[in-house]
């Protein structure tokens, strides 16, 4: 859009601009409302509840913050989790999301709108997705203009990939982080375009907000240096680039070091080294340009040789030091998660926990179409549109989309970072396409009416011309169409040369025939309609499940499975406050948040050995498992079992990870003991180790009483061992659909017959069995 400031009010172009501004503002408000409402399906279909696992931890932290204030929050040491180790919450959590929601709650309550913390947490994500679409409008406007901005904002409001992580109830870091990401990029581009230090400061503050919110901030601090390097290498160095980059690195690194989670990692880990390297490079380049401007060419050559010879020596020393530093750490300075992004096979070889999370697997091809739909083939058109003309800003968005496509191919979770880039590109493509088509239609219609006018006026003037123009009146359209297709316009306009203005000749290079333009416009609008239908379907059916409440439609109506909350409520009402509950790490956050009991391991997965201990216990026979749990002061064991209703993500399906992770730390657990023909089986063909392990026993205890045959609906077989008793555990609770089963550890017997004999046998045979690696708990 043209600048509005310099036009006097009342002139037609100023009126048009004012009308355009008001229209854009109205459209942006509607886009915000759309982004908010499309994420409310789960609240309508189920209830206003927090979804999944991770959001429960964030909710618990926000509750603590709202109750105890910010100083307690920074210094909070949580002893209700990772028993007996505890967890320093203040130093290991990304505070952005909880501080944002806490601030919103506090502000609303101080103006006497009494919303509960849960309501604020549930609706934070949709509100911030509205902000994110406005930020996309601003970003794309800086790159290509406000038409592209509106298109990109409308696309981002609905893109399924972003909806999946920001529905109402999905109270997770990405809800706020994607807004911070787009806003930081917008301020960077704005600084690049204007060269103002004010926007550079704002950029650093927005980057600080991003660092507070999400571990994915390393994407920003590596993408921007890459772009600066690209600009320098392609000869686009300018003072604006320096102003955009240098304050960001200095201020941004300092601000990043302020966040306790990052701390000194901001200057010590390899993830940030790229920014420092490019910082040095940009200073070298700036210095070279400056000196070139001052010295004469001869002096410049002398200076260059001098500097290069000294500089090489210094560089070699510095590089040697750096290499020594980097090589001294086993991963070369990178953290495990970053390394698994760069080398996708790293996690499966060395860190099975990272490999076991389903979000960390590479995506399949259909998931691209599911998540970004139509945008997948608008993106290449957008990339081409960015190259005409190529500016700093458009080279940045091209680099952004290339990098995000690579990373989204490594991990399904990072499709979320691809979504804004795809929307920006598609917005640019759509806007250019609409420009061309509507321009052609406008030109065709105006030239048609011009032909008619000229026919009428020229009948009186020149009969010859009239005759030729009258004859070729219809042929004029055809000839114009043909000429625009073949580009031989000037030869075919003998009669019209005088009346045609010169600028229209220039514009004719982009003119398409009228019918083609109208059809293409209609097709584009239909494309948009299909996109909207798909997004609404994805939001309603695929991404709105809270996964703590399950529903299923059957011939006799809707079944609701609320077993998880039922069992957590049972735990909180029927056990002591200090009782410890052991389960697999998936359910840790939910147990501490809803049941308010101390857990052994939870979703933070920061201590692999502790998780391996629980995994070993689940894979050992009853007595060994009892010993392990007793050493951890555990009172209750919780397992999730889906065999009665066919719920596929239960603990038996996750069992292979328990064995692998446990076996990674404690070598007496060997995966081969549990496999029959390379498969985990629980039917009559299962190995005896499998049939005796704790997980099998706790899941299938009394299972045969449900249908008389013990048919497991998930594994689709009858179970192997049907009738057995538990010796060291007793069942205390099974939920309505048998989904959650809670067991209590039986206290040790006072006297065990035959114990003295066993001890005597042990001491006599102790010497001979030293070579065998013993189970550390026996």
């Amino acid at each position: 859009m043209a600048a509005v400031e310099s036009l006097p009010p009342g002139t037609p172009s100023a009126m048009r601009n004012a009308f355009g501004t008001v229209l854009s503002a109205l459209i942006l408000v509607l886009i915000g409302v759309l982004a908010f409402s499309i994420r409310l399906f789960s609240v309508i279909k189920y209830e206003s509840v927090i979804h999944e696992f991770d959001p429960y931890f964030n909710y618990r932290v926000t509750q603590f913050l709202s109750k105890n204030g910010i100083y307690e929050f920074w210094n909070w040491f949580d002893d209700r989790t990772w028993y007996p180790l505890g967890r320093v919450i203040g130093g290991t959590v990304y505070p952005g999301l909880t501080l944002t929601a806490g601030t919103i709650w506090w502000v609303l309550n101080s103006i006497n709108i009494p919303l509960s913390v849960e309501t604020v947490c549930v609706f934070t994500a949709p509100v911030f997705s509205a902000f994110a679409s406005w930020a996309t409008y601003l970003l794309t406007k800086e790159v290509k203009g406000s038409g592209a901005g509106l298109a990109a904002a409308a696309l981002l409001a609905m893109v399924p990939s972003y909806i999946s992580r920001s529905v109402a109830g999905s109270y997770d870091n990405e809800a706020v982080a994607i807004f911070a990401l787009i806003f930081t990029f917008y301020l960077y581009i704005k600084t690049l375009n204007t060269g103002s230090l004010f926007y550079a400061t704002l950029n650093a503050i927005a980057y600080f907000y991003m660092v507070c919110s999400w571990g994915g901030y390393t994407f920003i601090i590596n993408l921007i240096p890459m772009h600066v390097l690209l600009c320098i290498v392609t000869g686009r160095y300018s003072p604006r680039l320096y102003i955009a980059y240098a304050p960001l690195v200095v201020l941004g690194t300092l601000l990043a070091a302020l966040v306790p989670v990052v701390g000194f990692n901001a200057v010590l880990t390899s993830e940030h080294f790229a920014s420092f390297l490019v910082f040095i490079i940009i200073h070298v380049v700036a210095l070279v340009y400056y000196i070139k401007g001052i010295l004469t060419p001869k002096m410049f050559k002398v200076a260059v040789t001098l500097v290069v010879s000294i500089g090489l020596v210094v560089c070699l020393i510095v590089v040697a030091v750096l290499v020594a530093l980097v090589a001294s750490s086993p991963t070369g300075g990178w953290s495990g998660r970053s390394l698994s992004l760069l080398d996708p096979t790293y996690a499966s070889k060395y860190i099975p926990i990272i490999a076991s999370v389903s979000e960390h697997q590479p995506p399949t091809w259909p998931s691209y179409f599911m998540d970004i739909n139509v945008l997948a083939f608008l993106v290449p058109a957008g990339i081409i549109a960015c190259f005409s003309p190529l500016s700093d800003a458009s080279s940045f968005v091209v680099l952004y989309i290339v990098m995000s496509v690579y990373f989204s191919g490594v991990m399904v979770r990072l499709m979320l970072v691809l979504a804004p880039a795809a929307c920006i590109m598609s917005g640019i493509a759509l806007s250019q396409a609409f420009d061309v088509f509507t321009g052609s239609i406008k030109y065709q219609l105006s030239s048609k009416s011009k032909d008619n006018a000229e026919d009428n006026t020229s009948t009186k003037n020149a009969p010859k011309d009239d005759a030729s123009s009258g004859k070729t009146d219809k042929g004029e359209e055809v000839s114009k169409e043909r000429s625009s297709k073949k580009g031989k316009k000037k030869e075919r306009e003998p009669a019209e040369k005088l009346s045609v203005k010169s600028k229209i000749v220039k514009k004719k290079a982009l003119v398409l025939p009228l019918e083609a333009s109208i059809v293409a416009l209609l097709l584009l609008i239909m494309l948009g309609a299909f996109y909207v239908i798909h997004c609404v379907w994805a939001a309603a059916e695929a991404y709105s499940a809270p996964s703590i409440v399950l529903t299923s439609q059957s011939h006799d109506g809707l079944h609701v499975f609320d077993d998880f909350r039922e069992s957590y409520a049972w735990l909180s009402h029927n056990t002591d406050v200090d009782d410890k509950v052991a389960s697999w790490w998936d359910y840790g956050y939910q147990t501490t948040a809803m049941a308010n009991r101390t857990v052994i391991v939870d979703n933070n997965t920061w201590n692999n050995t502790h998780i391996a201990t629980v995994g070993t216990a689940m894979s050992s026979p009853e007595k060994a498992a009892w010993e392990i749990f007793n050493s951890l002061d555990v009172k209750y064991v919780l397992v999730v079992f889906g065999g009665v209703i066919g719920y596929p993500s239960d603990d038996i399906n996750k069992f292979l990870w328990m064995v692998r992770i446990g076996g990674g730390e404690f070598p007496h657990i060997k995966e081969a003991d549990y496999l029959r023909d390379g498969q985990y089986r629980i039917d009559s063909e299962a190995t005896p180790t499998m049939l005796n392990c704790l997980m099998y026993k706790l899941c299938y205890y009394r299972f045969v009483e449900t249908d008389g045959k013990g048919y497991d609906r998930v594994r689709r077989t009858e179970i192997g061992k049907k009738y057995f008793k538990l010796t060291h555990f007793e069942e205390v609770f099974t939920s309505h659909h048998w989904m959650v089963r809670i067991y209590k550890l039986k206290p040790q017997k006072n006297r065990i017959r035959g114990r003295v004999k066993k001890l005597k046998q042990k001491t006599s045979s102790g010497v001979s069995s030293k070579s065998v690696k013993k189970n550390p708990w026996m």
Binding site: G195, S196, L197, F198, A200, T201, A204, I205, S238, P239, R240, Y242, I243, A246, P247, V250, L251, T253, L254, L255, A257, L258, G263, F264, V267, L268
Partner: protein, 86 residues
Amino acid sequence: MALVGSFSFNSFLFGVLSCTGTAFLAICLWIQVNKENKKFKDLAPKRAFADFVLSNLVFHLVIMNFFDRCPSPILNVVFMSCKNVV
């Protein structure tokens, strides 16, 4: 690296970065105000200076958070009172 994580690394970081950071911000001001720089002809020097002051303010606000511990008790009192304001 015995220095990492202790208060002396904090103060080292603060010392180095405050000097270099102010220097780089001054370079940015110089770029904007320099009359030979054609691209910044239409930027008023007063606006450039105001931006410089703002960015320095934010920068020093951030840097101040790096003194949580200080060897001299007198300075400690001064900085603690500053921190309460922040």
